[in-house]
């Protein structure tokens, strides 16, 4: 069938600069560049380019540029090119449209409408270069009250298991299979270096990475891939995945062609079969059932580690979160509307769920009202772009944040949204062995650790400017936030005042 889809990108090749070295041909995984033997020339074809910039950045003479094609349809606010092209794609395939990465639609990003406070005159700001600043965060259930032995000054209260992280930023769940082993290793080593945690996602933990167990969160999801006693024992935290921001209520299908020999070893399924994660966990149809799995995992790990529960941020997250805490979760994770994915139905990614800022504010408020906020750490995910977002999230009530896309961007991701094709030219979201070696774990870990270092330094600057020297003083302290350009209802849900008030 002839496709009616217009090319999305145009490749501009500067013939003056091109030395016909064919690097572009070798780097492109979408067959955009080719060698024309007849004319003895390296050329490009437009239709297949996805705009991943791999060729542009690897061209040794900077001969290439990639631009969106300015194919203008007749102006129509309702029938925008995206909708037209989606219909064409479906008319030609008859399938569910798949996509990768997070929601790219213009829903309001509340981080951009929140500003932080700083000290001026009436209280001194602190210079983090010369004074100690604490970002240390403990993940886990906190007691309702603390008792101290008067004679010895020792704590009498028994604490539930706590996991200490040095920076309130963790790497979110990305499974081996969705991303490559080299990405997993980069994340694990960077988390270890930075004193934070990375998350295996639901594809199991490769034997090579057990050594980073202390900095690992392992996931138990509906597919239960690679879940066995050593896997649970290896980790610092076990996370039950109920949902994911990019596809709330939807299961996952890792296509058989991505289930390579090594992925099959970790997932513990035969090579080449689809790894199907059912939409629900079939032992969880209620809060009571969730409590059962939480406690089964506590028993399976002999009460030595926090058990986390992750949900997608949806309309009644606050009530669900209350149930999760009461079900025994020691850490609850909210993954918002802009949370990313290796593959999700586009229609779900773009239309289901609520912004993480709203979910976080309402969950934190609800748990405080019910007097159970101390019983679980609250971690958010989905669209955190920089340390400013982190600081605002902490002020809105988060204990820590997860980053996924930001981490992948640090590794080279250009958000071309082709994760679901398995052809990632950056070698990130693929299990093709010829591509996965494009991520060198030595360099990957360095880039990720650098990112965390940069964000830590910035967070300390932000805290210092506010005149506080510990992240704990910012946590849930919404007085340090003001809103700009928000309605009264939005301000009320966020629990912040208008700038100027």
């Amino acid at each position: 069938m002839k496709t009616y889809l217009p090319p999305k990108f145009i490749v501009e090749r500067d013939p003056e600069r091109c030395i016909e070295c064919e690097v572009c041909i070798n780097q492109c995984t979408f067959d955009t560049h080719y060698y024309d033997a007849e004319d003895d020339e390296v050329r490009s074809r437009e239709g297949t380019c996805v705009g991943c910039h791999r060729c542009v950045l690897f061209c040794p003479t900077h001969a290439l540029n990639v631009r969106t094609i300015p194919l203008d349809y007749r102006d129509n606010y309702n029938w925008r090119p995206e909708f037209i092209e989606d219909i064409i794609k479906q008319a030609e395939t008859g399938g569910v449209l798949l996509t990768g990465m997070g929601n790219d639609k213009g829903y309001r990003i509340y981080w951009d409408h929140l500003v932080l406070n700083a000290s001026q005159v009436t209280n001194p700001s602190i210079d983090p270069l010369r004074e100690p600043m604490e970002l240390t965060t403990y993940i886990g259930r906190k007691p309702d009250k603390i008792e101290v032995d008067a004679d010895s000054s020792n704590l009498k209260t028994d604490f539930a298991p706590q996991v200490r992280i040095e920076v309130p930023v963790m790497f979110t769940a990305m499974s081996y299979g969705a991303v490559s082993l080299n990405v997993h290793e980069s994340l694990a080593r960077a988390a270890t270096e930075a004193g934070t945690l990375w998350n295996t996602g639901e594809g199991g933990l490769h034997p090579k990475l057990y050594q980073y167990g202390k900095n690992t969160i392992v996931q138990v999801a509906s597919g239960r891939f690679g879940v066995h006693p050593e896997y649970l024992d290896a980790a610092s935290i076990v996370e039950i995945k109920i949902g994911q921001g990019a596809k709330p209520g939807i299961g996952g299908h890792l296509p058989g062609e991505k289930v390579s020999a090594d992925v099959s070893k970790t997932r513990m399924i035969p090579q080449g079969t689809d790894a199907l994660s059912p939409a629900p966990q079939h032992d969880i149809y209620s809060i009571e059932d969730l409590a059962q799995l939480v406690h089964a995992l506590k028993e399976a790990t002999n009460y030595t580690k926090p058990i986390a529960v992750k949900i997608a941020a949806v309309h009644n997250s606050a009530a669900i979160a209350s149930g999760m805490v009461r079900a025994g979760a020691d850490m609850i994770v909210l993954d918002g509307l802009r949370g990313s994915t290796g593959a999700a139905p586009k229609i779900i990614r773009d239309n289901v769920g609520i912004p993480i800022e709203m979910a976080l504010a309402s969950v934190d408020t609800r748990l405080r009202q019910e007097g159970i906020r101390n019983q679980a750490s609250v971690v958010i995910a989905g669209g955190i772009r920089n340390s400013g977002d982190v600081a605002k999230a902490i002020a809105l009530g988060a204990d820590a944040v997860y980053i996924g896309t930001a981490a992948l961007v640090a590794l080279g991701c250009c958000l071309c949204q082709q994760c679901h094709t398995g052809k990632c030219a950056w070698g990130i979201c693929t299990t093709d062995l010829s591509l996965t070696k494009r991520i060198n774990p030595d360099i990957g870990a360095r880039r990720l650790a650098n990112l965390l270092r940069g964000w830590s330094l910035e967070l300390k600057e932000i805290l210092g400017g506010m005149g506080i020297n510990a992240l704990e003083s910012l946590r849930g302290n919404r007085l340090h936030l003001r809103g700009i350009g928000l309605t009264d209802t939005e301000l009320e849900i966020l629990g912040v005042q208008m700038a100027g008030s």
Binding site: K89, Q90, E92, T93, G94, G95, V96, L97, L98, V220, S222, G223, R224, F225, V227, H228, P229, L232, H253, P255, G256, S264, K265, M268, I269, P270, G272, T273, D274, L276, P278, H282, D283, Q292, H295, A296, L297, E299, A300, T301, N302, Y303, H420, T421
Partner: protein, 257 residues
């Protein structure tokens, strides 16, 4: 640990009275006993405590008197649990290795996502038994049900061997489960007796037994019969139907790229 070690007559039996214990207290006692090298435990007065045997990774034999609660032997890695009574939901949930033998009925999602080990249920099981069981190389979970099952039997199965014997069905009576093997993409189901096409999920095919199937049945029906005092030969005389996944990738054609 071999079968003969399980059966060792000399092994020391520790008796534990579960009356009044929470699941946490009971499992703590089990952990203690097992870490002391106990090879056989008798649990008396069990009344619905969940997660029994969850954190045990030694080949200890645990005999349960009473009714154990949900998630019996979930995540378990090696023990043999014998239940003198019924078991409830989630028995053998995500089990890794070991054996569960239930002298009675069992509830829903028996063997959910089990990755290894064997489960024998003398009577009936509830909904979605063997859901998402999976296998990898030599790790192949086995579920044998003596009675019949409810809907979605073997749903999403990705591996393992599931045998449904229907011994308590009357002459001419059929299994009533529908959606058998829905979403199945691995493993095998053997049904004693026949089922109508409408009872099967869209992703399963029906086949006659071959020699290898017969050997598998002989082995596991033999073990079932030995546990519960049946005559395996008598059971195996009856006609069996084999259900297998039609596709390794049941949903491969669902998407547009």
């Amino acid at each position: 640990m071999t079968k003969s070690a399980y059966r060792n007559k000399d092994k020391r039996t520790v008796k534990i009275d579960a009356y009044g214990d929470t699941h946490r207290e009971l499992n703590a006692k089990l952990r203690d006993a097992v870490s002391n090298g106990t090879l056989r435990i008798e649990l008396q007065n069990v009344y619905g405590q969940r997660y029994i045997g969850t954190d045990l990774d030694k080949p200890v034999e645990i005999e349960i008197f009473g009714v154990p609660g949900n998630d019996l032997g979930s995540f378990m890695d090696g023990p043999m649990i014998i239940v003198r009574g019924n078991a409830q939901d989630g028995c053998g949930n995500t089990m890794n290795n070991g054996e569960i033998i239930v002298h009675g009925h069992a509830g829903d999602i028996i063997g959910h996502s089990a990755r290894g080990g064997k489960i024998f249920i003398r009577e009936d099981v509830g909904y979605r038994a063997a859901i998402h069981m999976k296998e990898y190389r030599d790790k192949k979970p086995v579920l044998v049900v003596g009675g019949t099952a409810q809907d979605f039997f073997g749903e999403y199965m990705a591996g393992g061997i599931v045998i449904l014997l229907g011994l308590n069905l009357k002459e001419g009576e059929h299994h009533k489960a529908r959606f058998i093997g829905t979403g199945m993409h691995g493993g095998v189901i053997y049904l004693r007796g026949s089922v109508e096409d409408f009872q099967l999920g869209k992703e399963v095919g029906v086949a006659e037994l071959d020699e290898q199937d017969r050997q598998v049945l002989q082995k596991y029906v033999g073990e079932f019969a030995a546990h519960f005092g049946y005559d395996a030969g008598e059971i195996l005389k009856h006609k069996f139907t084999k259900l297998f996944p039609l596709y390794l990738r049941p949903y491969g054609r669902l998407y547009a790229y």
